[in-house]
Each structure stands twice: as C-alpha cells, then as structure tokens.
Symmetry: D2
Subunit: 163 residues, 4 copies
Amino acid sequence: MTASLKRRQVVAVIGAGDAPRDVCELAFELGREIARRDAVLLNGGRSGVMEFAAAGAREEGGHTIGILPGYDRHAANRHIEFAIATGIGEARNAVIVASADAIVALAGEGGTLAEIGFAKKFGKPIVALDSWPEIDGMSRADTPAQAVALALKLARSNSRRRN
Amino acid sequence: MTASLKRRQVVAVIGAGDAPRDVCELAFELGREIARRDAVLLNGGRSGVMEFAAAGAREEGGHTIGILPGYDRHAANRHIEFAIATGIGEARNAVIVASADAIVALAGEGGTLAEIGFAKKFGKPIVALDSWPEIDGMSRADTPAQAVALALKLARSNSRRRN
Amino acid sequence: MTASLKRRQVVAVIGAGDAPRDVCELAFELGREIARRDAVLLNGGRSGVMEFAAAGAREEGGHTIGILPGYDRHAANRHIEFAIATGIGEARNAVIVASADAIVALAGEGGTLAEIGFAKKFGKPIVALDSWPEIDGMSRADTPAQAVALALKLARSNSRRRN
Amino acid sequence: MTASLKRRQVVAVIGAGDAPRDVCELAFELGREIARRDAVLLNGGRSGVMEFAAAGAREEGGHTIGILPGYDRHAANRHIEFAIATGIGEARNAVIVASADAIVALAGEGGTLAEIGFAKKFGKPIVALDSWPEIDGMSRADTPAQAVALALKLARSNSRRRN
C-alpha cells in the first residue's frame, strides 16, 4: 500500500444560520484564515455563518466539509466540497464538535450554545470571536486571524497532551 | 382495538452526573414532585442528578425513563424503569430534550449546557432551579415544587399554542 | 432511597409500516403475547406492524414504548404509552434493536432488513415469524405465541451468558 | 463570493472489518476504480474492506472520507483523508449510506446487512460484487471495474429521476 497520509488539522466555525451581515463577514474571514493555514473548514453545511465560512475557505483553495442535519446532500450550501448527510437532525451538532480539532464560535442561538456545551464536554479548544461573553471557559480573540491562530495553537497543545 | 390512551406529560431533569449532595437532594425532590403530579420523569439514566431524580419519582410510584449514551441497558441506574440504549453517545442529549414536554435544569457542566442549547433550539420550556444565572431566556424557580409546577404550566401553554 | 426495581424484559416487534391485514393481525397477537408474559413492547412507534403490536400489548394492559424517527412525539400511534422523539431518522433502527432483549421480525422491507442486520451485529436473539426465509441465523416460529416464548427464552439464556 | 464548485460523485464501499485476503483485494481494486473515475470513496473508516478500499483510492490520488463510530478521529485507518467522528456507534451505517450517491457491497456480516437495508430504504443504487446472492433487489457485477461503472451509471440516472 501507499505511505500513510498526513491528515490536516480541522477547524469548525459555529454560529447562526441567519446571522447579520457583519457576523457573516467575520465568518468569511475565518474561512480564509483557516484555508491559508492549510487547515480544513468544517461546519453544519447550511446558510449564514456556515455558508460564508465555507465561501472564504474555498476562495483560498481550502477543503470544506458540511455535516448536514437531513438526508438531502443537495441541501448543502454551494461552497461545501464534501457534504455528509447525517439524517440525525440537531444531534449533528455533537458530530461537528467531535470531528474538529478546534472550534471558533461566532454569535449564535440555541444550536451554537449546544455546540459550545459539547466542546466543553469533549475537552475541545474553543475560541470566542467577539461573542458569548457570558460563557466561562472559552478563549477569546478580537480578529479572525487571531482566532484561527489561537485555535490551531490550542489544538496542537491539546493533541500533544493526549499523546 | 382498544380506546386510545391518554399520554402523560414528560418532564426531563438535567444536571451533573457527579453533583454535590445538596444538588442531588434537589433532584430527588424534583423527581417526587414530578411523580406526584402524575408526570413521567425522563433523563440520561446515569448517576448524580439523574439517579436521585429517578429515585424520587419511584418513591412516589412514578414512571422513569433513562436515555442512555451506550448500548448497555444495565448501565442505567437502578431507579430507571425503562432504559433506552441509544448508542449515540452525547448526541443523546438532543433526544432527552426532544422527548420531554418541559425541562428543569440544575447546576451542571458541558452536557447540561448542550441540553439547554437544544431546549432553546426546540422551543421547549426550561426552568432553572437555583442555577444557570448567566444564561438568558430561562424561567426561574426557587424550590423543586415551584419548578415542576411552572414547567408543567409552561408545557401546557406551549402545547396549546401548537394546536 | 427505595429498593431497586426489577426491570421487565423488553421485546421489539419489527416489520412494515404499511403491512397487509394478515401481517397486522400477527403483530396484534404478538403484542398481546408480550404483555401477557409481563414483558414490555417496544417498536418504531408508527403505523402498520408498529401500531397493531402496540394495540395488542395495550389490550392486555402492557407497557408500550415507541422510538420515533422525528422530533414530534404526537406522530406516535395512539397505543404508544411512552413516545421517544429521537430526531435521528432511520438511524433509530439501531436504538430499537439495542434497547430490546429480543426481537420478533415480521415481513418488512429496507428498514426491517436494517434492524435484522443490527440484531446480528449486536448479538441480540431474533425470531422470524413466517418471514425472512432468505436470511440465515434467525430462529423460526410458526405462531405468535411460539415466537414470543422463544424470544424470551433466548433473551434469558443470552443474559445468563453475559453474566 | 467565488463560483459554486462542482461536487464529485461519492461511492461507498461496504463490507467486513475482518475480511479475508481475497475480499480485501477486491476492495483495493474498487478504491482504485472509484478514484480513477474522479469519484470520492466513502466508508466506515476502520479496518478490512474499509482500509483496503481507502488505500486503493489514495494510490490513484482520490479523496477518502471515513465515517467513524466513535469520538476518536485517530481510530481512522491511515488512508482516510477526512475522518468524521460521529460518536453515534453503529447508527453511523445510516450516515454512510445517506452520504453516498451509490453503494458497492462486498461480503460482510450484520453491519453490512444493515447498510444494505438502509440503501433499500433510502432508494440508493446498490451493486453487489460477488456477494449477497440471497438478497433481492441489488444490481450485480463480476469485477471491480464493472461494479464501479454500474454504480456511477445508476447514481446518475437516480439523480436525473429526482430532478
């Protein structure tokens, strides 16, 4: 067989499906930063923050994975390269968090809060970008570039601690 | 066939699996109140808040359902009458919330935060008992009796709104 | 706390949601037999085989649990006493099998075949009643009474082997 | 935003995790054929058929996705490029089938049978390669090249029928 491949780091960007313009612009920049650093963008595959983050990653030639709630792969936004049709509804939020090395959180609602809860439960590094001041135990960043740099750094030290 | 049965209201009690004594005592009282009001107690089926709430409900002769993360039904605590072995891990938190008419939240950590997120996402009434002051949009109660009364009242009005 | 309760055996009845009359009558008899033997009837909570098996169990005063694919507990048929709204779609078939001590299979299609596959995977005893001659490794029965008796006997010996 | 990307066809290869040498060799050839035809290889991400199919796809420079049962992405075999850690156990079989445009089945046991059941349920084209003669309603092929060609052809006509 061929030699083992080196798997890329995976960063999830979480936030609202109906986010306002300024939050979507942050998501787009997050996607660009993730791709520039040769990491894979993973999210819920739908609209709003999910669509803009995927668009940003694709603009820089990065890979994008969408973990969809339903069975229809065509429900993924058009910047998702690999659409996983889980059919498990909102429980997919646990899959998004478990499948990432680190998470960057933008403003969001119930679904995003569930993902933050899973990140704490699973011990995954999570960076809040201009959001969620009320939740303890998250790292903080002021810009997309800082958020992605911090997320990847925390993921590496998390990975070292396990090995 | 026989006449249709009238399905009981279902209340989920959520909180930590390794809660301190005083929180477990609140859970036990919540279980008793739920059974006294002829509702079904549903939770994650394990230790701590989950075990004490189930014990309280059983003491009053109520039904108890445990939604387990793994495939082993014997992992349910001994006060769970009906053990559902989901095998879907922490994603079961979404099942707990979706299967309840209302949720009462005690102090907890990541898993409980995920359940609060799902309650918001699914539009389920959720009452915080002496906990989670930092999360907006939850109803508040000071005693187990108040919490259960409020949870059942909100569930009824929620159900009317849908019909 | 109160003494530990003795949990009842759980038997799943699987088969088509749009089964013909004669198969539904077998399902009804299976439900009656399960309840007469003080076991709990568990299934997918919808129409056809699922509805008739639950009706039979209720006629004998037995407990019935429905593991639903969606988030709407009201989608359960009217003979389901405890409706679990998994929201995980067809993946709930794995939950049905994992949550039962034994399975009785009637004629069915893709969903039933998936459940037979999971029963083999999980090492759960499975009895075919007048169905699935093409699948190896299932026990066979000619009447509902025989099927339930055999299912419960296999479940007991399965449980002893584990302990 | 950038132009919409053209998503590749996805083919799942299903079969035993502890398959004998000759079945693993068929899996390797299936992986190669899938990659040569510019499709993505998707499977359960573990050993046996899953590992050899991924190795074959990688040898031809194709993309490989593994849908894992647990939370540990490092449990994926070393030829999986994108590891999805579902944490939903054997219920992931439904995700594998739902996320593919077509399925090729090799010899297998309970898990593979569950996947065949889901393929029927979801109306996904499924091609048996030298296996499963007892199951009706599957297409048949004699060689890996024939199996992949037929799977992709059926996927295209399936997709046209939906649109």
